[in-house]
Each structure stands twice: as structure tokens, then as C-alpha cells.
């Protein structure tokens, strides 16, 4: 059974179309994350599902019922807002009970549900407090509690963690994931933070400019980005990009840029007649080898470019090595093994041909993407 189904959903403000026909099917109990830069239409899409924005075109189905013209309250969805929208004049208990009271549920039933949910979220001791007297994490929990007590068919999250500091965000992320595992409610989650998307999602929907760029599991998106946009959006630090030309030497593919030349893996899509084809090389920071590891392996020993590091950022077990390649920033993530002395000596980056992704310079699409095969 499908939880939420968007069929060619369009949003127009006057004559300006901001969402251009989105197709998406969220399975029941699935956790789907919409991710993209600000202004990509992800929030608008979520708000159309919530019923807070009118749908200009297409069909929206929730549990097989068309809800285009159904009021938000009758869609049986609950939403967690970016600023939580907790009523400052009501205490935690009343905030959570608000929806139930509006729906005229009995006192006992309200009490039972609120107490139960408060226990689940560890809010039992705070029920009497006003939102102003709570910490950011607690407010966040109340906002979720308010959604949970209603037992909705679908949870909608609109950047719920973006007001928290980094540490709390990590913690709440895990909590949301755990909660979803336990409650198993279909969830649609909007964020601009790809880390949140990667960690939370069963499936990620990457959006840009009111369109879906790619839908897939986190690992699928990470390993097989469909185009440069997705490639650069997913992963942190982002994928390095180098503009290059294809050079075919004795039936083997090479990428040529500046004075450098790197061997590439065989390509089904690029034949031997692609000499001079303009491409973008995409190499993930964690897929680049520094001297010590690479020189032993014949495959990578010579497949390298010489570099001079400008900066090393130490993160602990890992370090980020910064340099410029072809006038563009280039970052490598390397393991420190407890010491960065060996990294400071880095004078070349080595590349495994299979770890270099190719994108068409002109269209931005991935070359040899598995979906095309």
C-alpha cells in the first residue's frame, strides 16, 4: 500500500511555476527525505502534502484517497515545524493536548495519550512547563510529541532540526530515527542538510529548481549519482570536480587536464571515438589516496597528480587536505592514524580509475550510470 503518492504535482504562484510536476510514491511506513538547496521547492511540496498550500495541478493521494481538496485537518497528517510552532501561552501538556481538545476527545483519552507520549519522549517531568522554559532539544521533542499524540497516517517534518546546535542535532536525528523504527509511521522529511538526509532516510529525493533530480537509497545516491548536481550535493565534503578532456590512447581512456593525465576505467558509453569529449571528473574526497598507501599498488602508483597542500584541517581520526587543482578547490579526506606528520609530506594524489566518476560537461549527466544500462 502506498502512504503518500504525488502524481505530477505542480505549484504555481500566479504565472510563476515553482514546482514542475513531481512524481513520487512514498511507501507505507517508509521514511523519505526531500533534500535540496533552499528554493528548490521541497518545502512547498511538503506544504502541499500538508494542505497548507493549494495544489495547482496533479493528484495527491494519501493511503489511496485523493486529498487535493481535503482540508488539512481531514487529511490525517501531522507536521513538525521548523520553529516548532509551540504555543507559548500553553504548557507542554496543553500543547500536546491541543489537537485532541480541538477534536473534542474525552478528558481521560487525552490524558492517557498525552501521558503515554510524554513518557516515550522523556517529557514526563516537563509537562507543566511553558515552552519558554525548555531547552531547544526539549522543545523539539514537544513538537514531535504534539504530532505523535494524534496518531496520524503521515508525519511531515519541515526542517525540524535546523534550529538546534550541531551536537543536539546529531542526538535528535538519532531519536527521530529510533522513533520512526518504533512507530513505523509513513514520514516525509524536508531538509537542506544532506547529512540529515543520508542518516535518516530510507530513500532520499534530491530536488533542484522545482524538479526531482534523483530518488534512491542513501548509498545508491552516494555511489551512483545521476548527475553533477546530485554528486556535489550528497557527501561531505562534497565531491571534487575537475574539468577534463577524454584522450584515447591505444583503446584505453584517459582524462587530460592541464599537464596531467589520469587513467580512467573502461566505459560502455564512451566508445573509442570520443577523443576530446569534454567531461567533468568527480572524485570523492575519501576515494583519493596519498603517497604512502598508493605507491605500493601498481594500479595507482603512477596514476597521480603532483600537488602542494595549502592547508591541513585535523578532525581527529581523519584530516582534510586542501589544495587547488585546475584553479578549483580540491579536498582529500585521509586517515591520520593518530598523527598528521605523514600527511604533511603529501606531494601527490593517487587515483584508482574505478573511483573516478565521469559526467558529461555539457549536460551534467553521469556517464555510465547504472540506471542507463
Amino acid at each position: 500500500m502506498s502512504g503518500v503518492k504525488l502524481d505530477k504535482i505542480v505549484k504555481r504562484y500566479g504565472n510563476i511555476e515553482v514546482v514542475h510536476g513531481i512524481d513520487l510514491e512514498v511507501q507505507s511506513q517508509e521514511f523519505v527525505v526531500l533534500v535540496g538547496p533552499s528554493g528548490c521547492g521541497k518545502s512547498t511540496t511538503l506544504r502541499m502534502v500538508a494542505g497548507l498550500e493549494e495544489i495547482s495541478g496533479g493528484t495527491l493521494t494519501i493511503e489511496d484517497k485523493v486529498v487535493n481538496n481535503v482540508a488539512p485537518k481531514d487529511r490525517d497528517v501531522a507536521m513538525v515545524f521548523q520553529n516548532y510552532a509551540l504555543y507559548p501561552h500553553l504548557n507542554v501538556y496543553e500543547n500536546m493536548a491541543f489537537g485532541l481538545r480541538i477534536r473534542k476527545e474525552s478528558k481521560e483519552s487525552i490524558d492517557k495519550q498525552v501521558t503515554e507520549v510524554a513518557e516515550t519522549l522523556g517529557l514526563t517531568d516537563y509537562l507543566e512547563r511553558r515552552p519558554a522554559d525548555l531547552s531547544g532539544g526539549q522543545r523539539q521533542r514537544v513538537a514531535m510529541g504534539r504530532a505523535i499524540v494524534r496518531h496520524p497516517k503521515v508525519f511531515l517534518f519541515d526542517e525540524p532540526l535546523s534550529n538546534l546546535d550541531a551536537k543536539l542535532r546529531t542526538q535528535m536525528r538519532a531519536e527521530i530515527k529510533r522513533l520512526h523504527k518504533r512507530l513505523g509511521v509513513t514520514s516525509l522529511y524536508v531538509t537542506h542538510d544532506q547529512v540529515e538526509a543520508m542518516t535518516l532516510a530510507d530513500r532520499i529525493v534530491v530536488m533542484a529548481n522545482g524538479r526531482i533530480e534523483q530518488v534512491g537509497t542513501p548509498m545508491d545516491l552516494f555511489n551512483n549519482p545521476k548527475n553533477i548536481f546530485v554528486a556535489s550535493f550528497i557527501g561531505s565534503p562534497p565531491m571534487n570536480q575537475i574539468d577534463a578532456e577524454i584522450d584515447v590512447v591505444e583503446g584505453k581512456l584517459f582524462a587530460k587536464f592541464g599537464d596531467h593525465r589520469l587513467a580512467l576505467a573502461d566505459s560502455k558509453e564512451l566508445g573509442t571515438h570520443c577523443q576530446g569529449h569534454k567531461v567533468v571528473l568527480g572524485i570523492r574526497p575519501e576515494h583519493i589516496l596519498t603517497n604512502a598507501q598508493a605507491e605500493a599498488d601498481p594500479e595507482t602508483a603512477t596514476n597521480a597528480i603532483p600537488v602542494e597542500l595549502d592547508l591541513i584541517e585535523t578532525l581527529g581520526s581523519e584530516a582534510l587536505l586542501h589544495t587547488m587543482v585546475m584553479d578549483r578547490p580540491f579536498v582529500v579526506k585521509a586517515e591520520t592514524h593518530g598523527d598528521i606528520a605523514h600527511l604533511e609530506k603529501t606531494s601527490a594524489f593517487h587515483f584508482k580509475p574505478s573511483m573516478i566518476s565521469l559526467f558529461d560537461k555539457e549536460t551534467g549527466d553521469a556517464i555510465d550510470h547504472p540506471a542507463k544500462a
Binding site: 494542505g51 497548507l52 482540508a71 488539512p72 507536521m79 521548523q82 510552532a85 504555543y87 480541538i102
Partner: protein
């Protein structure tokens, strides 16, 4: 930077002179009140001979006794309460839902409705057509006329509308998703969230009603319906021409001045009692809607 020790000598002088000037201005604002209070508690002779400057001379309650013994004082006081309470409640009943509706983006013709309201701030038919309209509506010389005729104004609606617009939309959206309708959203979410703005508007309404005199004077003929301010005006203007009053002054310890001062004090006292409760709000509330940059 509230530690004076950190200030240079020049700054210290500057701060002190400034404080002195503010104190002077404040005292000169206060002085007329003190003067009137002093007059009201003095004997007529002391006032006429110019002995009253700051404190009551020959302290007496004669003027108050005279005022409080006057049935018209009580009638007009009661009327003022009726106009103030009735008028303020009616104003809020009209203004609050109206401002809420005007603040909703989904209201069709929102621009038009807002213009309809705002236009009246710029163009006003004026005294005569308003008066004739009240007469045509049969609202002359009636409590209802005074209460309804001044229930609303563009400024208060716009003030509150701006405040509602400044609240995060997610409050409304959250309530809507929780199943609340517009009346519930307004009553259970917006009204509690808008206490400062509502307090300000309530204050404006109460003060306008309490102090209103011109239209009450014009529209009311029946003595039994006039509010305190109209009665006060009559006292100030007419006491001097009143022969009975003049002759009664011969053996009395009160005079025209002390009697009017006593009525003034009686009229100011409720304002003073009410003022501190709501004063904390209006600094904040006023700016919410008034001139926002």
C-alpha cells in the same frame, strides 16, 4: 555600560546635566496635576487669594462634599462607565475578528478590504455628514448611538492586523493541522499570543471612551445620558453664570475653582488607577503596528 566609573569627566557632566533636564521636564509635566489636586483640597478663599501653589491651603473636603452631593455627578459618572465598558467591549468584538480576517493571506480581495479600511484614515466625510447620518439612523440622544457610532476606527484595526501578520504563520498552520477552525485559531492561539497588542488597543479604546466629550456633547440632548466629561465642561463653563451657585458661595468654603478641580480629580483617578496595569504593554504594543520600518 552602566558603570559610571568607566566614564570620562566630560561624560559624567553630560550625564548629570541631562538627568537634571529630564527631571525638570518631568516635574513640569507633573506640576499641573499637583496644582489641580492642591486646589481641590483648599478653601475657596485660599485659591482666590492666590495662596495655593503646591500643597493644599486650609485643607478641606468641602469641594468634594459639594461634588459628591450632586446627583448629576453620579449620573454622568455612571454614564461614562456604561460608554466606556460597552464601547470597549463592542470595539474589541468588531476589531479583533476583523483584523484577523484582514491578516489572512487566503482572504479573497484582501487588498480591496484593506484599502476600504485605510482610505478612511485619509478621507473623512467630516462632522456634518456624520452628524446627519447619526440622525438619519436614529442614533441621536441614545446610549446605543454613542456606543456603536464610535466602535471602530482604521488605526486600531490596522495596528492589530499588523501585529497578527507579524506572528509566525506556523502557529496558524500548526493549529489548522490540529483541526482548529478560524474561530478556534483566533480565540485559542492568536488572542493569547497578542496580549500586548490587545492590551494596547483596549487601552486606546478605554481612554478614548473615558475622555470622549465632543460627540457626546453634540449627540446627546438628554441630561441623564451625558458622560462625565460633558458634565465637567458644563460645570467649568456654567458655574460662573449660575446665580444660585454664586450666592451659595458666599458662605461656603468651596469656590468655582475648587469644585471644578475636584471633579477633574475624580475624573483622573480612574485613569491613574488603570494606567500602571497597561502601561507596560503599550511601549511594545504600539510599535508593533504603528510606524514599522
Amino acid at each position: 555600560m552602566s558603570n559610571m566609573n568607566l566614564y570620562s569627566a566630560g561624560d559624567k557632566i553630560f550625564v548629570r546635566i541631562n538627568m537634571f533636564l529630564v527631571a525638570m521636564f518631568t516635574l513640569s509635566t507633573l506640576y499641573p496635576f499637583i496644582y489641580i489636586a492642591a486646589v481641590s483640597f483648599s478653601t475657596g478663599d485660599a485659591v482666590t487669594s492666590g495662596q495655593v501653589i503646591l500643597t493644599p491651603v486650609d485643607m478641606t473636603l468641602a469641594a468634594y462634599k459639594h461634588v459628591l452631593a450632586e446627583p448629576m455627578f453620579w449620573i454622568s459618572y455612571k454614564n461614562t462607565f456604561i460608554y466606556t465598558i460597552g464601547g470597549t467591549i463592542l470595539s474589541l468584538l468588531i476589531i479583533v475578528p476583523g483584523a484577523y480576517a484582514l491578516s489572512r493571506p487566503q482572504l479573497v480581495g484582501r487588498r480591496f478590504w484593506n484599502m476600504l479600511i485605510a482610505f478612511t484614515m485619509w478621507f473623512n466625510a467630516g462632522m456634518i455628514p456624520f452628524f446627519l447620518n447619526m440622525r438619519d439612523l436614529g442614533l441621536l440622544d441614545s446610549y446605543i448611538g454613542i456606543i456603536i457610532g464610535f466602535a471602530c476606527n482604521a488605526f486600531n484595526i490596522i495596528l492589530l492586523r499588523n501585529f497578527f501578520e507579524s506572528l509566525p504563520a506556523s502557529f496558524e498552520e500548526a493549529a489548522r493541522m490540529d483541526g482548529a477552525n478560524d474561530f478556534q485559531i483566533l480565540w485559542k492561539v492568536y488572542v493569547p499570543l497578542s496580549k500586548p497588542a490587545l492590551a494596547t488597543i483596549t487601552l486606546f479604546c478605554i481612554v478614548a471612551r473615558w475622555n470622549g466629550f465632543f460627540w457626546a456633547m453634540v449627540l446627546l440632548r438628554d441630561e441623564d445620558k451625558i458622560p462625565l466629561q460633558v458634565y465637567l465642561r458644563q460645570t467649568i463653563i456654567q458655574l460662573t453664570d449660575d446665580d444660585d451657585f454664586a450666592s451659595s458661595l458666599l458662605e461656603a468654603t468651596y469656590s468655582f475653582e475648587t469644585v471644578s478641580a475636584a471633579i477633574m480629580v475624580c475624573s483622573i483617578i480612574p485613569v491613574l488607577l488603570f494606567y500602571p496595569f497597561i502601561q507596560k504593554y503599550f511601549n511594545k504594543g504600539i510599535m508593533m503596528g504603528g510606524v514599522k520600518e
